[in-house]
Structures are given as C-alpha cells and as structure tokens.
Point group: D2
Chain length 347, copies 4
C-alpha cells in the first residue's frame, strides 16, 4: 500500500478499523499525575443497617440466598459493586438452626465477628467457632460453609478480595457436593495449634502464603493489648497497631489481604498520611472521626468505613477517657508484592 | 427503629439509600465458575499498520504527540483501551533527528525493537542503543526519553502494565524538567556489565525486583538459541522458550511483567493449554497460526497477537523448513505473586 | 626443573616442602562413608551438679568469674570444650545482690531458666525478667549483663553456638564500658509486644534473622500445650514438639540455633531416627530414657543430655501417668542453610 | 549430698568427673577480642609443583590413586589438611586415556582448568568438557568421574568445602557401581542451556540452591571483561570483580562456596580490607603481590595463594601494561547465611 492510497480515507478511521487508537489522544487519561480513586470516603451505620439485616433474616431463607449478606457498596463503585477498588465488605446474618451451603472460590475471605454466639464455619473439614471480636480466615479455594447452633441472630463482617480477583479475571467458583462438610479434624484445631505467642508445630510443617490459622480469637487480641499496655508509642498515624500474621512466614495472613487491629488511646489524634493501598475499617469499640481528603467520617461502635487508596486520612478518638479499637483490612500485601506501594505524610 | 416502622417502605429501597445492596441478587455475577476475560483473541497486522505509522510520522511532530504510538486496542477492552486485561501493547515510530520528551511513570515498560537503527533511549541517565530484536527495559518510575540519530524510521513494540496499574489506582506520572536527560554514565553500561551468561558485578550490588539490565540484545538471544541448538525438547505447548531474567533474583525482569522468547521448530504443533495470566505475542520471524479458544489467529513476521487469560491456546509453525521465533510478555509475575496462577492442559 | 633433577630426592619430601600433600594417602580419612561425630551420647545429672554450683557460688565472686558457669563438656570434645560439635551448654548460678559484667560476643546465646526468681538480664538496654521455664534470647552481638534482686540462688541453662563460631574463626568479643547497662526501654517490652499468638507490632518494623523477643515465658508455653491438649498426634519421633519462632520470619529464633519444646505423653515411645544436626536436651519435667546409638541415657527432671549428629535416638517417657517435657536446641538452622540437612528413620 | 560432704575432695576434680569444667578458667580462650585464624597467608608456586605433578602422573596410576591430586596444605592447617579454615584447594593431573572412578560426596566441589585439552568430567550423566579458564561445578552429592581423551597432561585446580563439611561432621561418601557413568543427556547441555546473559529455560524449571550450570566457560568470562572494558571502576579492594551466579537465584553457585573472577588493571593497587570469610586465589594471568597482614605474597601465572579470614589483604598488579586476572573462591555464602559476615577497611 502506498502512502498515496492511504490518504484516500480518514487515517484515524482506518487505524480504528485495524484495531488501534492514537496514544496521543489519550495520554492525560492514561497517565495521571497521581492516583484518584473512583471510590469515595464513606461510612456505613451499623445501627441503621441492623434492623434490615434482621428483616431479611425473617423473610429470606438461606436456601434461597445461599449467603444472606448486605454488601457495603461504595457510592463510587456500584458497577460492579465493591467497597474499595480491590476489596469488598458485607454484613452477614445467620439465624439459629440455619446452615449456609458449602462452596469455595478463588477469592480470599475472612469474617470478623460482630455479635452473637454459637455459630461456626467449617473450613476444609475443620469447625471453627465464632465469638465477637474473632477473626476467622477462609483463604482462597478453601471449602467453607456456616452453621448456627446457638440462640439469637449471629452477625459478622465479611471481607473478600473478589473485586481484585475479578478485575484480574482469574476467579473460579465451585459448589460442594453436599450442603455442608463433615468435620474430620478436631474442632478449632488450627487455632489451638498456633495459639501461643510464637510456638509453631514442628511436625508435618506445611508452609504456605496463606495462614493456617482458622481463628485469631478476640481473647488473644485482648491479651496482646493488655501486655503492651501503655508502653508503646505506636504509629503516629495509626496508634498501637498490630498486624495479624501468617506463622509460617511472619507476613500477612493472605497474599492479597492484610488484617490489622489498632488501639487509639483516649484523645488520640493521628497525623495525616496517605498510601496507595485502600483500607476498610470496622469499629470494634469507641467512637471518633476520621478525616479523609477533608471529609469527616464520624464513626461509632460496629460501624464500617472506607478510606480509598491515596486518600489522606487522619484518625481521632472522640473520647478523652476510653480507647477506640479499630479492626482494618487492606490490599497492602498485593500492592507491595507488585512493587507499587507508596506512602507519604500530608501536612 | 422497630421492624414495624421499617416495613413502611420497600426495604430494598431503604438499604440502597444506606449504601448497601443484597448479595443474593448478584451472586452468579460476582462468582463465576471460571474466568471469562472481556478481552478477545486478536491479531494485529504489522504490514497493514506500518503505512499509517509512517503517515503519522509525516504529519504529527513529537512535540505535539509526546509519544507517537498506535495503541493495539483489544476489541473487548476499548474503554479504557488495553490489549489484554492487565497489559498494553503499542507500536511506536520515531524519525531521524527527533527526540521524545523525558518523563517517568509508575507503570513498568519495555520496548522490543522491530526495525531501524541509530536510535537510543536514555534511562536514568544511561543511553541504551536499539537494534532489531533487542529488548530494552524501562522499569516503573525510571526517567526515560528517546532520540534517533540514525537514518530511516525506527519502529518498536512498546509493552506496559498501565492497565494493571490503573485498575489498581496506584499510578503516578511526572515530566522531566528538560526535554531530554544528560547521559551521565557510559553508554549501554548496564547491559555490558551483565552481558555474560552468569557473571554479576560484585562491587556496589544493588539488588532490586526490577532487572538492572537496560538492554537484552538480540545478538545474545540469538547465541542462546544457537547454543541450545536442537538439544532441548522444550515445552510441549511453548517450544524452546527462554525467560529473560533479573540477574539479582533469577526471577522475571519486572514484578508485574515477564518476558520470554520462544523458538518453534519447523512443523511445531503445540498442545493446547490455558493459564490465568494473559499473554501478548510478537512474531520476530516466521509464520504460523495460533488457535485461541477455537479461533484461528494467523500470523506472519512482525505481527502482534493477544491470548486472553484462561483462553486455551495452541501454537503451530506453518513452515516445515524454518523456525518461527515468538517474543511474548505476560502478567504471570503479578498473578503468581498474588497466589492466583493456575494452568491446565485442554484436550 | 627437569624431571631428572627432580628425582635426586624423595619426591614426597619435596612436595611436602612445597606446602602440599598427596591426596591419595588421605582419601579415606577425608571422605568417610557417613558422619561419625567425635561427640558421644552423654547425660549430665542436675542433682549431682547442683551442690557444686552452690559451692562455687559461695567461694567465687562474680567479679572474679565474670560468669559463674559449669560447662557441660562432652567427653569426646574436651579440647576445646564443647557439648556437641557446634553447640555449648552450661549451667550458670547467680546469687541475690550479684551482677554479671556486661559484654557482647558474636556467638548467639540463650538462657533457659531452671530455678529461682527475681533475676533479670539486660539485653541492649531492656531488662528481661526470668522465671522457671522461660526461654531468654541474647542473639549475637547484643550487649547483655545479669542481675539478681530476688531471694535464693538463681540457676539456668546457658546455650551458645560458640563452638561453631570458633570453628569458623569469625568470633568477636567486647566488654561494656560499665559493669551494667542502664535500662532505657520499658522492662520486658519486647516480649510483651509480641506476646500474642500472631499479632506483630506494625509500627517501626525491624525484620531481622534474629528474633526480637527477649523472653518466651513458660506461662505462654504452658498455654500452648493446654490449647493443643490431646488433639495432635505430633511427631512419631519427637512427640508434640513446638518450635520457638522468630515473628519476623516464621523461622528459627536465631540463624544458627533452633529451640524447641516437646511434650512426650505418658508411655510415649518414639521411633528411632537420626539427622545430621546435633541436639542438646534439658528435662523440664518427668523422667525417661533416650537410647542413642544403642546407649541408654536415663534422665530425670532438670538433667541435660546430648545427642550427637547422625546418632540414632529414640525417646521413651518412663511414666504411664505423667507427661515428660523436653526443651531442646540444635544447630538445624545452620546445617539446613548450608544445604547439609539429612535425616532418616532407623529400623 | 550436703555441702560438707562435698568438701571432702577437690571440687574441681569432682566436677571434672561429672563431665563439666569451670568456664571461668577458659574465658579468654573461648571469647577472643577478634578472630585469629590458625591458617597463615601462603602462596603455592605452580612452576615448582608442576614437575612433581607430572612425576606422579608417571609413577602412580589412577586405579591406585582414585584421584591424583596434590593437596595445597596450609602450614597452619595440617591436621586435618586444609587450605583455609573451611576450604580446600588441590591440583589434579590426569593423562590421556585415563579415567577417574565415579563417586559422590556431600562436599561441594568445582574445578578451574589450568592447562590441557580434551578431558571432560561427567556429572550426573552429563559430559562437561574442559578448556583452560573454564569453571566446572560438581555440587554436593552429584555423581562425577573424569576422563581424558586428548593429548598431553590435563591439570586443574580442585576446590572443595570438605573442611567445613567435616568440621560440621555432616559428610557422606559413596562409590558408583561402575568405574564411569554413561552419558545420558547431550554433552555440555546444562552450560549451553544457560549460556546467555540472562535467558533461562522456562520449561521444566528446577530451582535449587546449587547452580544447574556444569561449566562457566572461559570464552564467556572473557567476553564479560571485554564488554565492560574500562567503563567500570569496580571495587577499590578487588578491582573489576564478577561473581559467578546461580541462574535460579541470582546468588552464589553453591550454598557454601562463592566463586569470583577479577581483573586488576595495569598498576592497580587495592586498598587494604579484611572480612570474616577466607579466600583462595588462583592467578589466571599476570603477576603481582598481595600483602596479607603485612606479609608479601608474590604471585605469578597459575600460582595459588590463600588469604585467611579476618586477615587484611591488599592486591597489587606488578605490571604497568598488562592486566592481572585472579580467579578466587571463598566461604562467603556460608558465613553470610549464618549471619556471621563482617568486613572493614584497614588504614
């Protein structure tokens, strides 16, 4: 083809027909000076949502729902729904006598227990019991189903990385052949075998990038804060913040999701900082405000709030007498593994 | 709030106003049985595109364009434009006497040289010269500009991970204070210091997840194939396939992008397999066909084609007398680091 | 030199004068079919040694002794004295009101507390208090001194890798400028900050191949065994055996020494196995026998015994009603890091 | 036993009978201020040794000798014989038509070829051919035998870590069932598959702490120096020094031995430094002097010299017109893996 022939039509039309587009008409859109997440800072009120959760527990069976969960949808991330760019949060409710169908998926998941007693999840054949404040892991491709044998409704926060897994288009899903798994190891064995501060079973080691621990119970978390007492200054932005770790590696509990628990002392006012990963917080106790890119998110007990990636955040404990305790999770492990972590203080 | 009050409106409306959505109405969409990429199998014809590249070289100055590139846009990924889910390919042209503005970005990049002689890119102060078949790296946040001091147009394939970086919302971009950088180290020094099969400079080591090598020259790639000769069976799917590596780690050249070069012997017919990462191929030499999820992509010299993630692919060298040489890059390092790699043979 | 000239003397004399020796006259000595340690299986009786420890505490001041320790010298390793090839064990005694001079050395060390209360060691400015059953670490090149502010004598097991460090000829030693260090951080802070089952301080991380934990207290060890209860089969050779780990890595507490604690259930009879590293045991509780290369080592509470490398060992708990608890340490981390670990069952 | 009874004999005798010794009588010997190797600085003259090597080749068959090697015995390390604390060097000779019995041992080994042509070693079934300047690896527990099908004697430097392996008492040895192995893969395939400056076979990966490369040929080493030319300043102590690396890890070729090749430019005078590992040098080309703890080791082509651990060394190229090329190996990987590496400049 000569250049003369080529000129007989609009070359922009021609290259479009050949499956291409001119980079020079896209440049600014593709390469922004800094990240601006589509997600917005947002807080979900537990007090407002709880009645609806109980309502749906009344009117919708688990056979119909498979999982009875209100997804916490970021107003900037509705299609598909997500809580921050890479992460999802939902609140799940299950009633006494109910079971939730066993399945597995590529997405990694955890539950942080909000209220209730007597339920358990079965993960790859191990029953893991739930109490408020417990962190239960369901790493990717682990079979899991839930059952409730106690009294009263059981509610928990679900965290998953499915927005990341789906964005990468690498997700698989499979239903179990029966409704629930049989328990074929002692109850809560994984948590009990790794209960101590740093003693690891030395027989039959099975190192993995996923933590083997089914439950990081609140009782232990509470002991950790008690042991540190007021003898640690902690982070100027995040307070006395502890990372739940994978005992095989010392690193995060899953390769895509990191989980933390922070104590903000009475009157704590954090400095303002930002980082490329996004973070979702759940208020275990206390009340305060987090200022995110200038927007005030006021939070109380059991609320959930989202801090998008590269948004400046600043935590404040509103009480001068009581601690605030914030559970949080982020995609820091994923972002760091790809060499894409960056942080800075904001003045 | 009592449940009675709650019932006065539609509870689905109410929970929507509270920033939530019912998971049970989304389940199948969020958790598919297996990945189905929005990207489609596609081949871009170099012969068809080359005249347009030269046309735009005539009519569009580099001062206007910053970079003069035709983006290879996958028909399934037009908004924003990408070549596969996480990766981008483009063909860039630069004329004698031109320079392209220095900048840096979070996205990692490389160039694989298609034709021309006498151009170089300057990366963090080092001039790296280009010859056909060379692989030049520009890892994330490295300053880079281009200049051409030879005769005739210079064309190359650009590969970047900006679709991934942008999906994760972690990208930064910065213009250099001048149009081009000064060369402040000897030309091509990084490639020369690591030229040999396995000898690494032992003074001033600077291990990094990014390869320190500016250029993996074709001359060395060619020697590698000659040394192996016909003494390796290679992979039944990918032929005699070699990974470009980071000498500090033995791993991929960048934490997000892996680069390979494969020799398909005369008459090679690969078995069919699929893997969660996606791959973009560039035909260095030869002609053949790759069957992707049942669709035939016929390719000849200098063409580019895309194999989406989890699409079954099967390579065939159409010649019974000549080798086909395929350069390729994929997001395998990123997918693997997140524990999300999976592959299988397809019968 | 011509071969004729060369023949005028005995060539064996000549090559000796040139600093060489004929390999063919040494072969069998240098390359044995399998390892045969110079160390022998041996047990040290705590009941027999204790009176002498108290005697020397009476007659020898710490100013004279710097450290008042009986070295447990393997009969096969007297010059220089060592307990196994790479490891040393000693029993140290300190009286109320005494202090032991601050120093540091390349050799890594720990103390496992046998009896007494009220003493502490100061490690790099942190006072670490001792109670029976506690494991206190003093990794290489950490300043440390001891002080006793309680009642009655304090006795503990010292473990060091100085035989390895000295064999490698890489050891340094330095006295502190004063007799004892000032405490400049809160007492026991390192142990308290890492107390919990898997929660790691996320501010100011300082990953290292040495554990940051000053004390792994018996109280936590005891909780670990209680949590596991009888729900773990454990190792057929070592019982329910737990590895003390470095929270930054999930690996051993020091790069040269690994520490473990094992519960042998009532009536436990281990299978016989051997491994290239050597191991030193301390009986925390119970009585039994360990058969080492056919030799019976009978042990009771607080005794110490040594299993040389590649010696077959077989543990038996003599009681049908009570547990035996064995603390142990070995050079497994060093041997493994060098690719020299091997093990096998012995029938 | 009461303290009164205890006093009836000499308590020092009593504790000796109980298998112990008083630490306070050993302290200074066990904890020296800094390392002082038993090894001494030493140089072995190739010109002086060569006639004896040929003599023994005449009078001693390989059937008798298994290996015909003059061990380079450090005057400070005669029992058992070693060249430095952890390493051994020997010079081996083999004549045309000879074969050396196949065996394997825990100790890792390499050969650096000094003179001759036409011999090969067979390592785990692969024939690896030798030319002067080549580095051939025989990692621990790899079967190996040698054969010579050329003309004239073949001489090489053998390097092993058996002093370390034997000090750790972890060494195994086994004779092959036949005199030599059959070649069951293409000749020199491992070296050819990894020939290039950073291209790794991507089919059937077998990562290991031992390099998979049978031969790092001189031809490639020479190209590496040519590529760098005079464009690298190199190390002020070691010149333009390159590390032979394991392509799977980017690290040293074996977990216990690191190999390097250095070019000292005409007139090079290095600064004086010392490090805890010890190093053995072989002069590939040139002449000069290395001052080791004040002692002058004058060296010429093909000589070997030893620098003990923590001895200050300073290299000088005696020529103002020609390069000196020094091959060297050290126990740096082992010392570093154990956290025991230290270095300093000496003024």
């Amino acid at each position: 083809m000569s250049q003369a022939n080529l000129m007989t039509g609009d070359p922009y039309d021609a290259i479009a027909r050949l499956g291409t587009a001119p980079l020079w008409r896209y440049y600014g859109n593709l390469f922004a000076a800094e990240p601006k997440s589509r997600a917005v800072p947002y807080r979900w009120s537990y007090a407002a949502l709880r009645p609806y959760l109980l309502h749906f527990a009344d009117v919708l069976s688990l056979e119909e729902a498979e999982r009875r969960v209100l997804m916490l949808v970021n107003p900037g991330l509705t299609e598909p729904p997500a809580t921050t760019t890479n992460l999802y949060a939902g609140i799940q409710v299950i009633l006494p006598g109910e079971t939730a169908q066993a399945h597995r998926h590529t997405a990694g998941a955890f539950r942080f227990i909000i209220e209730g007693n007597g339920a358990y999840t079965t993960v790859n054949g191990e029953r893991v019991h739930m109490r408020p404040g417990d962190l239960l892991l369901t790493p990717g491709w682990h079979w899991h189903d839930h059952a409730h044998e106690g009294d009263g409704p059981m509610l928990w926060l679900d965290g998953l990385d499915y927005p990341l897994v789906n964005a990468l288009e690498v997700g698989f899903f499979e239903l179990y052949s029966e409704r629930t798994q049989k328990a074929d190891v002692p109850d809560d064995i994984s948590s009990r075998q790794f209960i101590h501060g740093r003693l690891t079973p030395a027989w039959d080691p099975k190192p993995s990038a996923n933590s083997p621990i089914g439950n990081y119970p609140w009782e232990e978390t509470s002991r950790a804060f008690d042991a540190i007492a007021d003898d640690a200054s902690g982070s100027d932005a995040d307070g006395v913040v502890l990372e739940y770790t994978n005992p095989w590696t010392g690193g995060p509990v899953m390769p895509t999701i990191g989980c933390r628990i922070a104590r903000l002392r009475p009157g704590f006012r954090g400095v303002s900082r930002r980082q490329t990963p996004s973070t979702i917080y759940h208020v275990v106790r206390g009340e305060g405000v987090t200022i995110v890119d200038g927007q005030r998110l006021e939070w109380g007990e059991k609320d959930v709030f989202a801090v998008p990636g590269w948004a400046a955040y600043e935590h404040r404990n509103a009480s001068l007498s009581d601690d605030a305790i914030l559970f949080s999770y982020s995609d820091t492990p994923a972002v760091t593994a790809l060499g894409l972590y960056r942080e800075e203080y904001v003045r």
